[in-house]
């Protein structure tokens, strides 16, 4: 522990002086990383259990999808492309934040928000092309549950990102907001990457 120095008041006691430590830090050093990770574990578990529900109900069904066509591929596949593409401005925002470039981070967040506007609109078309309603049968219920759960994440992540972007432009600003941008980017990765198995289940498991 290299912060040790003799105490001014009582020379018989050594103390651990922490005055020179930084006031914020990135990645797993920060508390925000741990809370974001905790939320990702919780929500990842929710997604995993919802996928298990899908396959459990499928084992009980004589035919799958039940009395419906498989969902149309166009909008879901397009949205997958948009979501994956949004990882690029997302990573650039993260890089800018970790280099301490507030303005650049803010601009890349704006690009992320444009992408989120696109995927939210396309998500509307996805619901319309599921070819089943939630009240038709258990297949419809679980497909709507999966898509609904993921859409909730898209909406909340969009709102989070929008608030953070406004804060970067208007202030009051301090260094730890750069950590927030970095953790926001981590969560964005989570929302995009969890989509891939859900996409596979909704659109392709129904075709197997």
């Amino acid at each position: 522990m290299n912060h040790t120095r003799p105490d001014d008041i009582d020379t018989s006691d050594l103390v651990l002086d922490v005055r020179t430590l930084p006031t914020f830090a990135f990645s797993h050093r920060s508390l925000m990383w741990w809370s974001t990770t905790g939320l990702m574990l919780i929500e990842g578990t929710v997604f995993a259990i919802a996928v298990i529900m899908y396959f459990y109900l499928r084992t009980r069904a004589p035919a799958w999808p039940m009395a419906a066509d498989a969902p149309g591929l166009l909008w879901g596949s397009l949205n997958t492309a948009v979501l994956i593409a949004s990882l690029w401005p997302n990573q650039l925002a993260k890089n800018a934040a970790e280099r301490g470039e507030r303005r650049k981070a803010a601009i890349w967040l704006v690009v992320c928000l444009v992408a989120s506007l696109a995927f939210l609109v396309i998500r509307g078309f996805e619901f319309a092309s599921l070819n089943v309603s939630w009240y038709a049968n258990a297949y419809g219920s679980v497909v709507w549950l999966l898509l609904g759960l993921h859409t909730t994440h898209l909406i909340t992540d969009t709102i989070d990102t929008a608030v953070l972007t406004v804060l970067l432009f208007t202030g009051p600003f301090e260094g730890k907001r750069l950590v927030d941008v970095s953790e926001n980017a981590l969560y964005w990765y989570f929302v995009v990457l969890t989509w891939l198995p859900i996409y596979a289940v909704i659109y392709w498991a129904a075709r197997l």
């Binding site: 522990m1 912060h3 040790t4 105490d7 008041i9 009582d10 006691d13 050594l14 103390v15 651990l16 002086d17 922490v18 005055r19 020179t20 430590l21 930084p22 006031t23 914020f24 830090a25 990135f26 797993h28 050093r29 920060s30 508390l31 741990w34 809370s35 905790g38 939320l39 574990l41 919780i42 929500e43 578990t45 929710v46 259990i49 919802a50 529900m53 459990y56 109900l57 009980r60 069904a61 039940m66 301490g100 939630w134 009240y135 049968n137 258990a138 297949y139 419809g140 219920s141 679980v142 709507w144 549950l145 709102i159 608030v163 804060l167 202030g171 009051p172 301090e174 260094g175 730890k176």
Partner: protein, 644 residues
């Protein structure tokens, strides 16, 4: 607070001047007044409220049990009707499990963990406050439903199809499902708060292998919360969707499946038993070394056993479903897993016995409760081995044998150690000692009352008395044992009453407790009873597992954290090396307002699905205002900012 930009900042350290101590206390205090009360974020303030709230729910659920026992005291009794009886056992189980046993453990942890690891605060103090308010409002919703006579009545695990739209047409099952949403939201947030606190806010030098065992138990439990609670949130959400918007998750006529409910519920429900049971293992591992007056024997084995128990707990859920049509091979697997959990439990019991055997016993009330735990939990464990085997389980399924088993495990495993913990840490909670004489009376009445109540239930179950019956005819040979059980229940009530008398007496007493009345070894005993708002005048540097029992090594304290701002020391995960010193948020009204908005959303959704849409707007607004930094906070932060 003196936040003038030009004033030289006050910093903490050992031998701090009275001025620095006063500044620390003022910085970390909650604001005065009624509004200040709603803004409070100090972890001790919130935890005290949380503990008292859960204890009130414990008393209410206990009163419901007394009514049930009065009804069952004699055959053909007509004290209450069958529907009210259904509501009573549903409310009793639901309250005890969701509003008392799980949250009380988190509540105690949010009080003790920062003190045990040498921190000034819990991580995310505002989230902690929000989680408390959400929990409180969820509990109030459940009891409000009983008051207006629409309480849930389908049992504490709310099985479908009974709880589905066809067989439970009133609002009770919806209220049950949303109560789950409230309490599990609160529990999950507390899990994130506690994990972050334990990993990142430990005093320098408190590497993972020096953490007190209670902190280990809390850490393991919170990871279990993270993986278990999502299952129950999802299955109760699916239930309410079936009931409100016509989905068919549990409707076999439309491809749904009722056993899906049981799988999802027990995938949560069995780990839940360990959410209730593992924190008390931590209480016991704190109490035994203190009263055996020696360090804990077998620390690494204890930690590994806790972790093993947590893993095994997720492989047991099907043993609640042996009476369903799942494959026989599957049942054998779950029997084996259920028996296997005896191994880590036994390792811990042997380590405790080893510690007691080689120590010098100080037979005070906390230790009495722990010794009773051994007796009762071993009994409950034995019947657990019995019901883990399929043929025996089929014989006693849905009888009073199961009621006896689960009360032996839950009261023996959780409530006895919890009372021990109340006696042990009461000086930290309240600054006073609880009376020893009254404590012994309470203990013996509780121990005897408990066995008189629940032991006959084993026999009642073997004689075929089913659970959840509101009355029974003469001549089945059940009368005497039921009367005995009822008498025992009132003895337990008397014992709990004595506890309350003891608390009131000690609260009115003028004798303050000393900092370390028991001669214990962990950090919470190094600060006054009750601790000041900032917990530690100077953050200790830790050199061993029982810092107060070991010769002091240098350096002993941290110096240089701000006394006039909420600055905390963050350390590294494994070795607790000092890393950085962020500012923590001040008290705020927004967690409370957000919790109110969340409550409107959850309760509104019971009546119209559109509430999910319109009521999420105030939630979003309140949370954005919660997050938005104030100019004055920002100024303080910028003054002391140092980039990594």
């Amino acid at each position: 607070m003196s936040n003038e930009p030009n004033a030289p900042s006050l910093v903490d350290g050992p031998h701090a001047s009275p001025e620095v101590r006063a500044a620390l206390a003022a910085t970390w205090s909650d604001p005065p007044g009624f509004i200040g009360m709603l803004c409070a974020v100090n972890h001790k303030t919130i935890a005290r409220r949380f503990i008292v709230t859960t204890f009130v729910f414990f008393l209410l659920a206990g009163l419901l049990a007394l009514v049930m026992r009065a009804q069952l005291a004699r055959a053909d009794q007509r004290l209450i009707g069958p529907n009210l009886y259904n509501e009573l056992f549903t409310m009793h189980g639901t309250t005890m499990m969701f509003l008392f046993a799980v949250p009380v453990m988190q509540a105690v942890a949010t009080f003790l963990v920062p003190l045990m690891i040498g921190a000034r605060s819990i991580a995310f103090p505002r989230v902690n406050a929000y989680a408390y308010w959400v929990f409180l409002f969820g509990g109030l919703l459940l009891f409000a439903s009983l008051a207006v006579n629409t309480a849930p009545n389908a049992g504490w695990f709310s099985y479908v199809p009974l709880a589905g739209p066809d067989y439970s047409p009133n609002k009770g099952a919806d209220i049950w499902a949303q109560m789950i949403t409230f309490t599990e939201l609160s529990g999950l947030l507390e899990a994130v708060v506690l994990i972050t606190t334990i990993f990142k806010l430990r005093a320098p030098g408190m590497s993972l292998n020096r953490m007190p065992l209670f902190v280990w138990a809390t850490l393991v439990t919170q990871f279990m919360v993270i993986f278990a609670m999502p299952a129950v949130m999802l299955c109760s959400t699916a239930l309410i969707l079936d009931r409100l918007v016509g989905t068919h998750f549990y409707n076999p006529a439309k491809g749904g499946d009722v056993l899906l409910w049981q799988h999802l519920f027990w995938f949560f429900g069995h780990p839940e038993v360990y959410l209730i049971f593992i924190p008390p293992l931590g209480f016991i591992s704190s109490i035994i070394p203190t009263f055996a007056r020696r360090p804990m024997f077998g620390y690494p084995a204890m930690v590994l056993s806790l972790i093993a128990t947590a893993f095994l707990a997720f492989g047991l859920w099907v043993h609640h479903m042996f009476a369903t049509n799942i494959p026989e091979l599957g049942k054998s697997f779950f029997t084996a897993a259920s028996l296997m959990i005896a191994i880590p439990s036994a390792i811990q019991i042997f380590c405790w016995i080893g510690t007691l055997w080689t120590g010098k016993l100080n037979l005070r009330v906390p230790l009495l409760f722990v010794l009773a735990f051994f007796f009762i939990l071993v009994m409950g464990g034995m019947t657990g081995i019995m019901v883990a085997s399929v043929p025996l389980d089929l014989q006693v399924h849905d009888t009073y044998f199961v009621v006896a088993h689960l009360h032996y495990v839950l009261l023996g495993g959780a409530v006895f150690p919890l009372f021990g913990a109340f006696y042990y840490w009461f000086p930290k909670f309240a600054g006073r000692m609880l009376g020893e004489r009254l404590g012994k009376w309470q203990f013996w009445l509780f121990f005897i009352g408990f066995n008189v109540t629940f032991f006959p239930m084993h026999l009642l179950g073997l004689e075929g008395m089913p659970r959840r019956v509101w009355t029974y005819p003469h001549g089945l040979g059940w009368d005497a044992m039921n009367m005995t059980a009822t008498i025992g229940a009132y003895v337990i009530a008397l014992s709990v009453l004595l506890f309350i008398v003891n608390v009131v007496q000690s609260a009115r007493s003028q004798v303050p407790a000393r900092a370390d009345p028991w001669g214990a070894g962990t950090l919470e005993w190094s600060v006054p009873s009750p601790p000041p708002p900032h917990n530690f005048d100077a953050i200790p540097v830790v050199h061993g597992r029982d810092p107060l029992w070991e010769p002091s090594a240098q350096p002993r304290f941290v110096a240089g954290l701000a006394a006039d701002a909420r600055e905390v020391l963050v350390t590294s995960v494994l070795d607790a090396q000092p890393d950085h010193r962020p500012l923590f948020p001040r008290p705020s009204i927004w967690p409370f307002v957000s919790a109110v908005a969340t409550t409107v959303l959850f309760i509104g959704s019971i009546y119209t699905p559109w509430a999910i849409v319109w009521a999420s707007l105030p939630v979003a607004v309140a949370m954005i205002l919660w997050f938005w930094p104030s100019r004055s906070e920002n100024r303080v932060a910028l003054e002391r900012e140092q980039s990594p």
